[in-house]
Symmetry: C2
Subunit: 344 residues, 2 copies
């Protein structure tokens, strides 16, 4: 991020906070969102991201009011290591979708982005043409928090965007952290971006992600790189053919694209549309969404319940002591868990 | 399972229960296990599997006494769909290991075996020559329980087997359920058995399992099937080459074998030995075990904590009501989780 954009980001944050200290009328904001007002949308998201209880409560009230208007979008998860060209891809892809008449929201989920060094939606300037388009909405990732907290914010932001009329939601993640399962569980379609030449750049991608992908796209397929990209794509195609088919009945596709030459982009949207058609007709699309809702209920409850214990320093100390004993082979993990449970 | 073997299984269970009602001296049993006494080993496992608190306590006492003598084995997870030939493979593989001077314990983890129709160590008669070998110990899966409970029993049984001097532990799972992650988290090496012809039989294998495998072995590579097996193995080899390397620094291997012709079996053990050598020298072997212990502590605590809630019918009802609201889109999953947490 440049110093200038950092400063402008900070100014935005200050401006938002000022805005929030004025009176908040959830119903007003909800109405605004339903008319597609991006300022109202931003305000609601900021409320949900706030640490102040009154803000969160207002945010939840808005969300609850808008719930009947959510769900009518295609939710796409996009992952790939830093350097694969996610931002430029999202810009090309987003602009293509808008040219077809869609309204596109771009979100990010990546609590570990600082650690992994991935610049993930850090500033909007990386998507210049998309960010100024009135049919696009780009929301940088909230900077910190646990994976559970960040997942929740992204999930809720997505619902608000849907209520505001965005009918394609792109959720970006860097593919090296813990967040891919989260993205996979809140999207309909999972897109993995890769570079040609299955060498070092693979080091970054976590195992298990390839088998999650509904489509694997080789980026930067331009100039001298095109032949390499094509052969990489066909190698992956063969490999993915050996994967067990997913529950959706969908066979993962491979493709190549160039954001610079703007080639291959519309084919990827064709793949998504084919996926939606296939999974709508076999009913997977909606059953998957229902399962996802159940997944998030269980996950959220689990993580909040655990958090309520770990928030207590005395309890955290107990846990650490048990962990030490387990690591040193003085207690079995299960005996240590029994001991911890006896304290609860 | 034949009627005869079922009857004999029942007789065994009755005999064990009778045995247990006699006086139990944990120290005696521990001493017996340390001398390699298989009867003492069986007794301790049965204690741990019992539902009676006094039995479990005695079992835990034995385990605690033996803890310093555990860990000195190579732990191998073996998975594959029903029909892939797991039992015959394990028999050939186990006999080969014994011929090299090893002592082999075979366990199974599969809480869902009844549902999936996989016959998993259901009776020892499927491994006739191995089961009568004095250097082998085969323990059928405990019939029922939650995944958490079954994982715990398998994990603890493994430790007892190690104390009894078994230096290779094979843990079998059917590869279609929830238990592969559990097996992966309690073993050093993960072996995936597959049939040639990447077609229908893949339907059974869950996604994500291929990327867990340290070796993928095509079984039944005999007679007319040999050529097909070879070409399947090389296709998988190419595919797995495209996978991101695992944290162990190990590149997954592929091989073929025939349990009938007894070919390819020793090559698989060579692969395991190479793996152990590689991961010992880069320190992954021991750091992985430490991480696994931490994983089980967290998992066991988490699942026991949740269980303590779900055991209460009133609470289960509350959860079901929330789930219903979430499924019907009346509440967001996170708002529902908040509601549940407010009850705790």
């Amino acid at each position: 991020m440049t110093k200038k954009s950092k400063a402008s980001n900070i100014q935005q944050i200050i401006a938002r906070k000022k805005e929030l200290s004025k009176g908040i009328d959830p119903s007003d904001i909800s109405k605004g969102i339903l008319t597609g007002d991006k300022q109202a949308l931003s305000k609601a998201i900021t409320l949900l991201e706030s640490r102040k209880k009154t803000h969160i409560d207002s945010g939840q009230e808005i969300l609850q009011q808008l719930l009947p208007y959510t769900g009518k979008s295609i939710r796409i998860g996009i992952t790939g290591v830093p350097g694969v060209g996610k931002s430029t891809f999202i810009e090309s892809f987003g602009n293509h979708l808008i040219s077809l008449g869609h309204k596109v929201a771009v979100l990010a989920i990546d609590p570990s982005s600082e650690k992994s060094g991935g610049s993930i939606l850090g500033d909007k300037t990386r998507m210049e043409s998309l960010s100024v388009n009135e049919n696009a909405f780009i929301r940088p990732t909230s900077s910190s928090g646990s994976l559970g907290g960040v997942s929740r914010k992204t999930h809720e932001t997505m619902l608000l965007c849907e209520a505001a009329g965005f009918d394609v939601i792109l959720i970006e993640t860097v593919g090296v952290g813990q967040s891919e399962t989260a993205v996979h569980q809140m999207t309909d379609f999972f897109l993995l971006l890769m570079l040609a030449g299955a060498g070092d750049e693979l080091q970054g991608i976590k195992r298990g992600i390839m088998e999650m992908a509904d489509a694997l796209v080789i980026t930067k397929a331009d100039g001298d790189n095109k032949t390499k990209a094509k052969s990489a794509a066909s190698a992956y195609k063969m490999a993915m053919h050996l994967f067990p088919p997913s529950l959706s009945g969908w066979v993962s596709k491979t493709a190549i694209c160039s954001s610079i030459e703007n080639s291959g982009i519309h084919e990827i949207w064709d793949i998504v549309e084919e996926y939606v058609k296939t999974t709508t007709s076999n009913n997977y699309f909606s059953s998957n969404r229902t399962n996802q809702r159940e997944y998030w209920l269980r996950e959220a409850f689990k993580s909040q319940l655990l958090q309520s214990y770990f928030d207590d320093p005395a309890w955290q100390k107990r846990f650490d002591d048990c962990l030490e004993d387990v690591k040193n082979g003085l207690l079995t993990p299960h005996a240590a868990a029994d001991k911890l449970i006896s304290f609860t």
